[in-house]
């Protein structure tokens, strides 16, 4: 083993740690005993179906909500950059892109300009925020998250509503940012199968942590395309496009030892449905 690598690993500090998180909304136990830690330089993708507790976990990690029980430990002085999934700004507020970005604490004009150029949105600097397209607005939100020079970057469904080109660019950019800033990155996605290729760890959430692990490299073969292009609802990934996308995307294979009933409770020890389908 490369000794240098060992040193780097040992030095990677834990940015945020969640221990024994439980959360109940009414009679629904949405989070059950969640343990989770995110380190510097690490890219973690949290996936799970709708209503699996992703948003609740995110709000708890971000400190917006206090869980019923459990403990959140943040590294001292941790700066978190958050890119929300949606943010609508009322028409009554006259706000330009630059004005919006200047609201980040400690933001300076030069830094704003730098990030606008880096994300190729400097042409939008003077535009009112209400007039941007979905993709443009998302880049502005990313710029805002980066302006605070985060130790931890949290992105909630960053590619939802973004075209394939935009998704590709984002998935190229994030690992670059990780290397430059040395920050930890958390991505939240409802896509259960395709994740960003540079993800170090995928966490599959459904009330509790169902499974976690490293994603597989996407195979660019015709075989892969015929298998996943049709079976997993990714018909939009026509073979040609899938080939093109392949370097940025990876497939995540679930390793569940249980399945969930409709009400979310665990049914017993069987292989994950995805696995079964794959082996059919």
């Amino acid at each position: 083993m490369n000794p240098e690598l060992v040193v780097v690993k040992a030095e990677a500090e834990t940015l945020i740690r969640a221990q024994g998180i439980n959360q109940t909304w009414g009679d629904r136990h949405v989070l059950q005993n969640i343990d989770l830690a995110i380190c510097e330089n690490e890219i973690v993708t949290i996936i799970g179906p709708n209503g699996c507790g992703k948003s609740s976990l995110l709000r708890i990690l971000l400190g917006l909500h206090t869980a019923d029980s459990g403990k959140i430990t943040r590294r001292k002085g941790l700066r978190v950059g958050y890119m929300p999934q949606k943010l609508r700004i009322d028409d009554r507020l006259p706000l330009s892109v630059t004005g919006f970005l200047m609201l980040a604490p400690g933001a300076r004009k030069e830094r704003v300009q730098e990030w606008l150029e880096r994300l190729s949105i400097n042409a939008l600097a003077k535009q009112p925020v209400q007039r941007l397209s979905g993709g443009e607005w998302q880049r502005v939100l990313l710029a805002r998250a980066l302006l605070i020079e985060p130790h931890l970057l949290v992105l909630d469904e960053p590619v939802q509503g973004v075209d394939i080109q935009g998704q590709r660019e984002l998935y190229q950019l994030l690992p670059e940012l990780r290397n430059e800033l040395g920050c930890g990155i958390v991505l939240v996605s409802h896509d259960l199968h395709l994740v960003m290729a540079q993800t170090d760890r995928v966490i599959c959430l459904n009330g509790h942590v169902c499974c976690s692990g490293h994603p597989d490299q996407v195979s660019v073969s015709e075989e892969y395309n015929s298998l996943f292009g049709n079976q997993h609802g990714h018909q939009h990934l026509a073979p040609a496009l899938s080939n093109e996308l392949a370097p940025e995307l990876a497939h995540y294979t679930h390793h569940h030892d249980h399945t969930h009933c409709a009400d979310g409770h665990i049914e017993g020890s069987t292989e994950c449905q995805e696995q079964e389908r794959k082996h059919d």
């Binding site: 978190v80 929300p84 507020l93 006259p94 706000l95 330009s96 609201l103 980040a104 604490p105």
Partner: protein, 262 residues
């Protein structure tokens, strides 16, 4: 010789200048109804002030602040929709104020002056309150402007960025209470939120940034005060409502300008 109209004019200008930035925040954060409720509750404050023989301005500021903090808490803990809650509190506190007031036969109070304002009755002491209160409000708003604006855009994002969102909100409603209390004499209980909202709404189409909108709202408010006073002298109309009518006319003009420009 000139002082009889100079004093009310300065009082009106002071209130309008303060109402500009605060009114803009009220418009952006949809707090209009909140301001109304505070104003209606203010009558209860006056009644209590008379009852316990307190300094009226202080009694007003105190009761508005207490009401503002109660509203802030109720909003968090009750399941009632906040507009319903505000509606209930707004009108019941106005009604309680009127009922309690009627119990005192020996107290003679000009109810109309409180409901619609009596700008011409402003004295030097009132002017002092308006300028001291106004400077405090504008000073605090400038000091915390970035945080206030950030939490207007998104409370969640602002909280994650480390702005003290809860304190800023509490500060904002307390400043609103202060402005309601000091401007009651100018336009009265029923028209205070008009002075907050209408100039800000009129400024919106002309502004390119939040700061511009806040300053333009102050200017438009001050223009409305001048115009309102002039018209009320010429046509012998009640001053407070005439000021609001002037502001409303300016609002219409800015909307017309906006649609013509497009």
């Amino acid at each position: 010789m000139i002082s009889w109209w100079l004093l009310p004019l300065f009082a009106g200008l002071g209130v309008a200048a303060t109402a500009g930035p605060l009114g803009s925040l009220v418009v952006w954060r949809r707090l209009a109804f909140f301001g109304d409720t505070l104003a209606h509750g203010a009558l209860l404050g006056i009644t209590l002030g008379i009852l316990f023989d307190l300094h009226l301005t202080l009694a007003l500021i105190f009761s508005c602040s207490v009401l503002a903090l109660i509203l802030l808490q109720l909003d968090k803990y009750t399941g009632i929709a906040s507009d319903t809650l505000l509606g209930i509190l707004s009108h019941s506190s106005l009604a309680i104020g009127l009922v309690v007031l009627s119990f005192f036969d020996n107290v003679r109070i000009d109810l109309m002056a409180y409901l619609f304002g009596d700008l011409l009755a402003v004295n030097q002491n009132d002017l002092l309150w308006i300028f001291a209160g106004g400077s405090l409000v504008i000073g605090l708003l400038i000091w915390q402007w970035r945080g206030l604006l950030a939490s207007t855009v998104s409370e969640e994002l602002a909280a994650i960025d480390g702005y003290p969102v809860k304190w800023l909100k509490a500060m904002l409603v307390l400043l609103l209470a202060l402005v309601v209390a000091i401007s009651m004499k100018i336009v009265g209980v029923l028209l205070i939120s008009a002075l907050l909202i209408i100039p800000a709404a009129a400024a919106r189409p002309l502004a390119k940034s939040p700061e511009q909108m806040a300053m333009l709202a102050s200017l438009i408010g001050m223009l409305s005060v001048c115009a309102g006073m002039a018209f009320s002298f010429v046509w012998d109309t009640p001053t407070g409502p005439t000021i609001v009518v002037s502001a409303a006319s300016l609002f219409v003009m800015s909307q017309v300008y906006n649609s013509v420009r497009k």
